[in-house]
Symmetry: C2
Subunit: 259 residues, 2 copies
């Protein structure tokens, strides 16, 4: 095992692999190999970060100090078992997969979980991205900590249970707040109102939470126990019964917090 | 009725009245009077915008071209009826109250609805705030349109039904996305994780929607139909059964959109 990592290989070529590989390259690491289920995808990413694609996953081991497995959660186990005997460090990048999934395949392993939503079209400001680390030994932790700190100053230790709770919190804060934007957008579309009319309110709401507890920042009819408005709104959603039910459920959740 | 408005009076001294009065003052309007149920609140706002508080609500009529009623939705009717005979324009600022609530009390009336979440502690960038207008006549619309355009270039016409649908969309986009932040925060607190770990993800999620349809921006386990992760998350929320149920409901809503 190399404690000062210089050569990094990637299993996977999705959004997380893509952004991480380009950023590591930018920070001076050599991307030794890229493997993906689809060779053309591996090749595309490899070309973008001065690396080489390998058709055989075992090729990832060659000249690598660290292999980053950035594939779908349910593929991690198979991918790990296919890599073969490797003396370096292997990490996965998943929020809700326990570190121990790597235990049977490797001696030195860990997790490097970036808490961010990655899309290929959108640039990632890595300096803002929190990284959650877990490792099979203090030596591995030290080695991957050095890598993480090159990417971002916001590096935390978290065991598998804590990391999963953080992932759940992120599902609410990101995936489910985005669902609220989706629903809002549908209502606007049905009313022939332009989607951008909502942008300033959405930005202001997201920015407010950085000024204090979101519980204190809550506004709206449910917070005020304004049942007249709540019932008017639910009646107006009659043609979208799923959203009417959801409106009532969420109004009740808020209302209970301000008894 | 004065078609070129110069003197504006306020009924109410809450967050909306406060921000609107200061901004109108800044844009060169004279704030003729402020009335509030609590005289000391009216006095505080009046002093902040070079105005005078009146103890009797009928005092609002004196020297005013426009009276803005910015009070709780269920108080608008009473406040309107207490103002008395007034030849100028009277508007309310509520999203989900029909304009006609003012019909029996005034000849010239309308609605000036700012689509934003107002807190006393937070500065409002009025140039970004959409204003939704409705008026009892084209002349009133023209007069309040001039006022709104001094506050923001984003001025729209909307009848009472459309305005209410916009308000409902805003409840989802703002109040309910904030509830998602609240839940996320509770989970972080229970796990001894700092709240600011989630800030970059929340900001990125909010900013992404300005790049395209939020339906395309959706990420997370439900979008990927990753049932293993979804069930793990729901099991981990066993000690918070309301949030476990909500997690499942929202996951199902997302999942159905990507069949």
């Amino acid at each position: 095992m190399q404690t000062s990592i210089k050569n990094v290989a990637f299993a996977g070529s999705g959004n997380v692999a893509w952004h991480l590989a380009l950023e590591l390259k930018l920070k001076g690491y050599h991307i030794s190999h890229v493997w993906s289920r689809e060779y053309t995808n591996a090749d595309e990413l490899a070309k973008s970060c001065g690396s080489v694609a390998c058709a055989d996953i075992a090729g990832l081991r060659e000249g690598s100090d660290l292999i980053i497995i950035a594939v779908a959660d349910d593929a991690i186990n198979d991918v790990a078992r296919s890599i073969g005997k490797f003396d370096g460090i292997v990490v996965h990048t998943a929020g809700s997969v326990a570190m121990d999934i790597l235990k049977h395949s490797f001696e030195h392993y860990g997790v490097l979980y970036p808490l961010q939503t990655f899309s290929k079209e959108t640039a990632v400001h890595f300096a803002d991205v929190p990284f959650l680390l877990e490792a099979s030994s203090p030596e591995v932790l030290k080695a991957i900590n050095q890598v993480a700190l090159k990417l971002s100053p916001r590096v935390y230790d978290a065991d598998s249970q804590k990391r999963m709770l953080l992932h759940i919190a992120a599902v609410f804060a990101s995936n489910y707040s985005n669902l609220m934007y989706v629903i809002s957008n549908e209502i606007l579309n049905n009313s022939n109102l332009p989607p951008d009319i909502m942008y300033p309110l959405i930005q202001e709401t997201a920015q407010k939470i950085m000024k204090g507890d979101p519980l204190k920042m809550q506004t709206g009819p449910a917070r005020r126990h304004d049942d007249t408005t709540i019932e008017k709104h639910i009646a107006a959603l009659a043609s979208m019964p799923e959203y009417a039910d959801l409106y009532r459920l969420l109004a009740n959740l808020i209302s209970k917090k301000y008894k």
